[in-house]
Symmetry: C2
Subunit: 285 residues, 2 copies
Amino acid sequence: MFYLVGLGLGDAKDITVKGLEVVKRAKRVYLEAYTSILTVGKEALEKYYGREIILADRDMVEQSSDELMADSDTEDVAFLVVGDPLGATTHTDLILRAVEKGIQYRIIHNASIMNAIGCCGLQLYNFGEAVSIVFWTDDWRPDSFYDKIAVNRERGMHTLCLLDIKMKEQSIENLMKGRKIYEPPRFMPVSLAAEQLLKIVEKKAAEEKTDKNALAADTVCVGLARVGAEDQKIVAGTLKQLTSVNLGGPLHSLVIPGHMHPLEMDMLRLFALDDSVKELLTSSQ
Amino acid sequence: MFYLVGLGLGDAKDITVKGLEVVKRAKRVYLEAYTSILTVGKEALEKYYGREIILADRDMVEQSSDELMADSDTEDVAFLVVGDPLGATTHTDLILRAVEKGIQYRIIHNASIMNAIGCCGLQLYNFGEAVSIVFWTDDWRPDSFYDKIAVNRERGMHTLCLLDIKMKEQSIENLMKGRKIYEPPRFMPVSLAAEQLLKIVEKKAAEEKTDKNALAADTVCVGLARVGAEDQKIVAGTLKQLTSVNLGGPLHSLVIPGHMHPLEMDMLRLFALDDSVKELLTSSQ
């Protein structure tokens, strides 16, 4: 059996009991290490699980599935994924390849940012489409996610913004020369996401492309860091304020609320950066 | 500490290791027993956890939070919730009451239907707003969820339909007489949800209120039962076909796809009821 096992969001103990049993008995244990960052390191997992873990990078998963799945028709192989195996990042291609090879698979679900985001108090069924905010470069500044946020807000829905991470990025020079030399991993903090978003907001305002649901510098948004971990941080502040918060290490997420119920506002007030934000959360947004 | 512990979706072993540690050391362990149905019973949990579990019904949670949270300022109390504590059903009111009483709380996240639904192969970030389909009665047949599905489809988004469950329902007579006598629990199967939906589709067609994105009897939809459990079932069939599938015991969910990527269609084909559905999943929907 080929098991896709979700690790949840915090540390080694966020695996489910069922998942841990699979890890302990599996012939080989892989850790998907290119689309997310575990709050604890591979070593912490190895120590807690008492198993050697093989890091699986994108090349391995996409090009060496024979190797990855070897013997999983007769023995158990575990493929660990931070969060849920089919959460923010999907591994359906892996499932399809398993089925093609006649290998049985099973998914051991766990929390992912897509549902744990409920910890900020905004109700999951009031979230519309999630968006991704990527690192801008000097000449590539995509802003299409703004329109999705706008559509969600128009319908009163909240938006979860998944923030970019770059795990094994090659410089353009190394890429062109075919050198497998990678830049250090980096992740987008809430402050940078808010900054990029604020620039779009200002541009739209200058072009007078705004309406009553439009985001503004004083719209209350929610910044989250390390959701599910012991040192999780949640702050509610205006978009402008969030450009200067420091929420520490990865991973970060940003939520843009739509219409809020009183109970949702009550919850966000718990995380308000200051009294002016509490004030904004008392009046209807 | 007042712990809200997610149990995940399958059986007793779907709790996280961290959650299990809390359950084992808590002074009291409650199980929220009115918004969801655990695939295994309370007894199975008690046996596996080695702890007595107190069933918490709606009255208790909404009216007796003093009792529920007693001593949790100095000791650990665990409140177990099927899925994620802040998943399809929210318990933010409980958190607010804890904070009001000066009691610290912690959430132990887990999978919920809101993210585990990814098991059907449709990608989570392509889901729009989720909807609820409730039991129709002779004189109460709400259909507003249809418009939400239509809006999602117009934007190419998938829709997760959460299907009604009635856990401690009183008959109108008993309710009026103030008798706390409850009807047996019931849950909506995929077939009934599809039937209700098909009736709306036919009504809209008769009123000529349809467009190219409109749902039709031959739209491929996905029926799911007991997601995350060992005997989970997933079927892809036309809306019409789903009105006559029998997916067994609770809980069921229904997904109405929007625009599908080739990889998503490849996955759905794994669950196709018959070749005609596979055919529909080859052409673009």
